[in-house]
């Protein structure tokens, strides 16, 4: 079972594997960073609202702006990975 798998893997010249690794790294590292960032944003938002609940409305606009700006980082990684996957 394992040996046939290894033979199959060796038959491939490794290009597809490289592409897959590029895509996975792009998404994986991108979402790692964005995960930390989004966690920070919502954590700070909770703290801020807990301290000054009357500012909630004003903070919400900034919160979503920050969320979308941070979340986009994943997709830069994803697009980089997809470029590697499709074009190379």
């Amino acid at each position: 079972m394992l040996s046939t798998f290894l033979v199959l893997a060796a038959a491939d010249d490794g290009v597809d594997a490289g592409k897959a690794i590029a895509l996975a790294l792009g998404i994986g590292l991108g979402s790692l960073g964005a995960g930390i960032g989004i966690g920070n944003i919502f954590g700070s938002m909770i703290q801020a609202v807990a301290r000054q609940p009357e500012l909630r409305g004003e903070l919400q606009g900034i919160q979503w702006l920050g969320f979308a700006l941070t979340e986009a980082v994943v997709f830069y990684g994803l697009i980089g990975g997809l470029l590697a996957y499709v074009l190379v």
Partner: protein
């Protein structure tokens, strides 16, 4: 009743995938249909010299989006507006208020709101409409299905904003307006000077290079953010449903369909609106910061 609806919805999602799973696909690239979804085939060829203005799937969605966003404006904000607001008028006023308070006043200086509010508000409504149309199954696709002898396009979800050309055109518009407005208000030399912050002399060439690069990065980040968000949303849904076909196992639907449905809801409820808001708000901020550089 509600449970029945949910069950029916789930069944409606499962059935086509089972039918597709039954049909044989080529052994080599079973997952190819996912990226084929973004191949734009020409429907009506229109060529003006070197310009290719052919109508394809994305253009059809864009036209529909333009029509729908005009209708949103007319129906909610123009038709029979009175002192005592109906529910329709209240919704229209809510849309207007979001565009005014959350988008325009965030970025634009007070004296420029009159000039640039219409642009930012229409950007918000248009992008929201196109994004939203991208999550409503519409009979606008390249695949054909025969029902009772009539060949009809299959229902499909496709967002025009998940093609880079569309978002790049929108971002280019904002980018051009930013610089035109900056030069018009401040004069070209003052405007260019406002890019450069106060730094020691030896650092100047590096900073100038970075600032100029930053202006172009804005273009990329603005367009790629919207594009990649919509692309990734559709791709996730398609991949989860596609797993059923790729692995040729209809029972995977038990896991794949709920996951796809959750992502679908996440996209429809949060991402669609946020991306429209972000694009409009950032446009307002960019234009505002070009008009009053010191802010």
């Amino acid at each position: 009743m509600k449970r029945l609806l949910v069950a029916l919805f789930g069944l409606a999602l499962v059935l086509p995938s089972v039918a597709l799973a039954a049909s044989d696909t080529a052994e080599e690239d079973k997952g190819a249909f996912i990226s084929e979804e973004w191949d734009l085939h020409t429907w009506i060829p229109i060529h003006l010299g070197p310009l290719d203005l052919s109508i394809n799937k994305a253009v059809a969605y864009l036209l529909l989006g333009a029509l729908c966003s005009c209708l949103i404006g007319i129906v909610f904000m123009r038709v029979k507006v009175g002192r005592e607001p109906t529910r329709r008028q209240a919704l229209g006023e809510t849309i207007y208020e979001i565009a005014q308070v959350q988008v325009a006043e965030q970025g634009l200086p007070t004296h420029a709101i009159g000039r640039w509010f219409p642009y930012c508000a229409s950007l918000m409504v248009f992008i929201w409409t196109v994004n939203m149309l991208g999550f409503i199954p519409l009979p606008l696709s390249d695949e054909k299905v025969t029902i009772f002898g009539v060949e009809l396009p299959t229902l499909a979800i496709f967002a025009a904003t998940s093609t880079l050309s569309v978002t790049l055109a929108l971002a280019l518009m904002t980018w051009t307006f930013t610089h035109v407005e900056g030069i018009r208000v401040n004069g070209s030399w003052n405007y260019l000077k406002s890019w450069i912050p106060d730094v020691p002399k030896p650092m100047l060439p590096l900073i100038i290079l970075l600032e100029v690069l930053g202006q172009f990065m804005r273009l990329i980040s603005l367009s790629v953010r919207l594009y990649a968000n919509m692309l990734a949303g559709h791709m996730l849904i398609l991949t989860f449903l596609g797993l059923i076909i790729v692995l040729e196992n209809a029972f995977l639907a038990i896991f794949a369909v709920p996951f796809a449905a959750v992502f679908y809801l996440f996209e429809v409820v949060i991402v669609v609106s946020i991306q429209a808001y972000i694009f409009a708000a950032l446009s307002a901020i960019y234009i505002g910061s070009a008009i009053e550089p010191d802010h």
